[in-house]
């Protein structure tokens, strides 16, 4: 059984998605338990994979028994086993936490919603687990197409925002496909490990350079690195509340995983980091992105929309971390994939809880929230501290690795951008906390005493996952040393110091 884990992790959610489509026609109440069971099973499989990787270093699964490079191989190592765990952990927690929200938002379409939910998770898990460059493209499109549909089901300008996301996402994926085409042209292979073995003789070839540039451009569009970010704020702020806390933590993080995988394990550091000029250019782009996205966040007056810009700034952290091209920087980037997924999940779940109660998320509606929803706001404060980077929350440790990597590489602009972004985050989050800490200006005497005093916290089913994630942010921070020494340090190729 356990030798089939890499395939099961895709097959379980994929098949359940189709079962849910059928079952949704007859009984709407069975969709959620089915999704819950399949994601729990997949989470256990991903934990099993992680334990197996810790023991055996690397697992290769040949789909259909075809030997790579002819067949498609699924390869699990330290890097993707931890990202898999993040994907299924976030998906399962969000599934439980947004049950009430989804029931409100998708009352008559609950079957298709959970089917799309599982297909989206299938796509992301497939991207992470596959060892085949073309297979990755197909799974990328599965995740993207279901993402467009999930976002397009929202209210307001969701359809238009989603259509713009379709355009940008398709350009990004097509560029990736084109880059893989050039790689296939020169190596004749699509298996990532095989390409990495064939490339060293071809490093001087212009086609390899073009492939690299085109792949990276496509991935930058997909992950919304600053100049290519325009699709993200609209698509994410109009999407349904029950899907945003799934899509926002995972999509950009998985794309950053793909960038790390392609850079370190297909093109290999010898090629990708051969020119310090190129590294500097990428790091400066990332630093510019961090600063610009933080500034843009300042001008927003709605909670979810401002969080999307924080998300774009975080993308800059990880891209910059990789292109610092040293061990500390890449450790920081990989650690930040885990931490940022948890932090983003936490803030968007809190936003979901607030919207469930308030029906709106503009800053002026947040007044007096600490009294009304003390536990949700406590979780928000923990997540805010983590995004700012206050110890012992996990955000501090990944930022620490990134900053020490930046100093080691001599990229002081990047270090400055990180510190600047932390300061801006302080302003951003404390503004929200301040607004919600004080009561509205309205006169208390004319109000019903019950109305202002009573706490109207979100339902327990939504609250417990949020508090768990908030506690998880501190736990992740405390166990950072173990995560780095047991998993991440083996995920980085030997040659990088």
């Amino acid at each position: 059984m356990s030798e089939h884990y890499p395939a099961l992790i895709i097959v379980i959610p994929l098949l359940t998605a189709f079962v849910i489509i059928g079952a949704g026609w007859f009984r709407k109440d069975i969709c959620f338990p089915l999704a819950l069971v399949s994601l729990t099973a997949a989470l256990f499989v991903s934990i099993g994979l992680l334990l197996e990787v810790l023991e055996h270093q690397q697992i290769q699964y040949k789909l259909g028994g075809w030997k790579p490079p002819f067949g498609i191989a699924y390869e699990v190592d330290h890097l993707n086993s931890i990202v898999l765990l993040v994907v299924f952990g976030v998906a399962l927690i969000n599934l439980v936490a947004t049950r009430a929200l989804a029931a409100v938002e998708f009352s008559d379409r609950i079957g298709p919603f959970y089917a799309l939910y599982l297909l989206f998770v299938t796509g992301l898990a497939g991207i992470v687990v596959t060892g085949d460059a073309f297979n990755l493209y197909v799974l990328l499109e599965i995740a993207a197409l279901t993402g467009y549909a999930l976002i397009g089901m929202g209210k307001g300008h969701a359809a238009l925002a989603s259509l713009n996301y379709v355009f940008m996402g398709t350009i990004g994926a097509s560029f990736y496909l084109l880059g893989i085409g050039y790689l296939y042209l020169v190596t004749g292979s699509l298996n990532m490990a095989d390409i990495a073995g064939l490339l060293p003789q071809l490093y001087t070839s212009k086609a390899v350079l073009i492939a690299f540039v085109i792949c990276m451009t496509g991935l930058f569009i997909k992950m919304a690195l600053f100049p290519f970010h325009t699709w993200l704020p609209n698509a994410y702020s109009y999407s349904p509340n029950s899907t945003i806390s799934l899509i926002a933590p995972l999509t950009t993080k998985v794309m950053i995983y793909v960038m790390i995988r392609i850079t370190l394990f297909v093109f290999t550091p010898t090629f990708a980091f051969s020119s310090p000029m190129v590294n500097t250019a990428f790091v400066w782009t990332a630093a510019g992105g961090i600063i610009a996205a933080s500034m843009l966040a300042l001008s927003e007056r709605r909670l979810r929309r401002f969080l999307t810009y924080v998300l774009i700034a975080e993308v800059g952290y990880m891209v910059g971390g990789l292109w610092l091209a040293n061990r500390a920087g890449i450790t920081g980037a990989i650690l930040h994939i885990i931490n940022d997924a948890a932090m983003t999940l936490c803030v968007f779940l809190v936003a979901g809880n607030l919207i469930y109660k308030l029906k709106d998320d503009s800053f002026k509606d947040l007044q007096g929230l600490f009294r009304k929803m003390p536990l949700s706001m406590a979780a928000f404060v923990v997540a805010a501290l983590s995004i700012i980077g206050v110890p012992p929350t996990c955000g501090f440790f990944s930022k620490w690795y990134l900053i020490s990597g930046g100093i080691a590489a001599g990229q002081y602009l990047f270090v400055a951008a990180l510190v600047f972004s932390s300061l801006i985050n302080v302003v951003l989050f404390f503004r929200v906390i301040e607004i919600s800490f004080f009561e509205p200006f309205s006169d208390h005497h004319h109000h019903d005493e019950e109305d202002t005093r009573s706490s109207s916290e979100a339902p327990v089913g939504m609250l417990i996952p949020v508090l768990l994630v908030a506690a998880g942010l501190i736990v992740l921070g405390i166990f950072t040393g173990d995560i780095v020494s047991m998993i991440i340090q083996f995920a980085i190729p030997e040659g990088i110091t």
Binding site: E141, L145, F167, T170
Partner: protein, 133 residues
């Protein structure tokens, strides 16, 4: 000059796919009508499909079907890869075509939803309506 023409002619498949791709991108960037943008998106995807198909081609090669290959005859030693065009990129593109069709479907469905909401598919009119709200 002759060199340039030689490069142009010898790599004509690349020029074709690049021009098609640029036409698609141009339509996606500049066109005002959402359906025209969707068509541009499809042209761009088709350009990449054509690129893949063209790199499988070989001079004086034939279809990758081994004649009289079935049965128990030991034909493996007689196959010269150079005689057959490479079928792998073509097979990959079957998947890419399916992806392109699915993307087109999702995009058109969203365009329909946009039309029902704003009663127009012209981007400037939609943005004018959004600004008015």
């Amino acid at each position: 000059m002759d060199d340039v023409i030689a490069i142009f002619i010898s790599k004509y498949n690349f020029w074709i796919y690049i021009s098609l791709m640029m036409i698609g991108l141009y339509a996606m960037i500049t066109k005002n009508n959402l359906v025209k943008k969707i068509i541009g998106m499809n042209i761009m995807q088709t350009a990449i499909i054509l690129f893949y198909i063209s790199i499988g081609a070989k001079k004086d090669a034939t279809l990758p079907i081994i004649l009289h290959g079935h049965g128990n005859h030991d034909v493996a030693h007689a196959v010269h890869a150079a005689d057959y065009i490479n079928p792998l990129p073509h097979v990959l593109m079957l998947t890419a075509i399916v992806v392109a069709v699915a993307t087109l479907g999702v995009a058109l469905a969203l365009a329909l939803k946009v039309y029902n909401q704003y009663n127009t598919l012209e981007e400037d009119e939609i943005y004018a309506q959004i600004r008015k709200q």
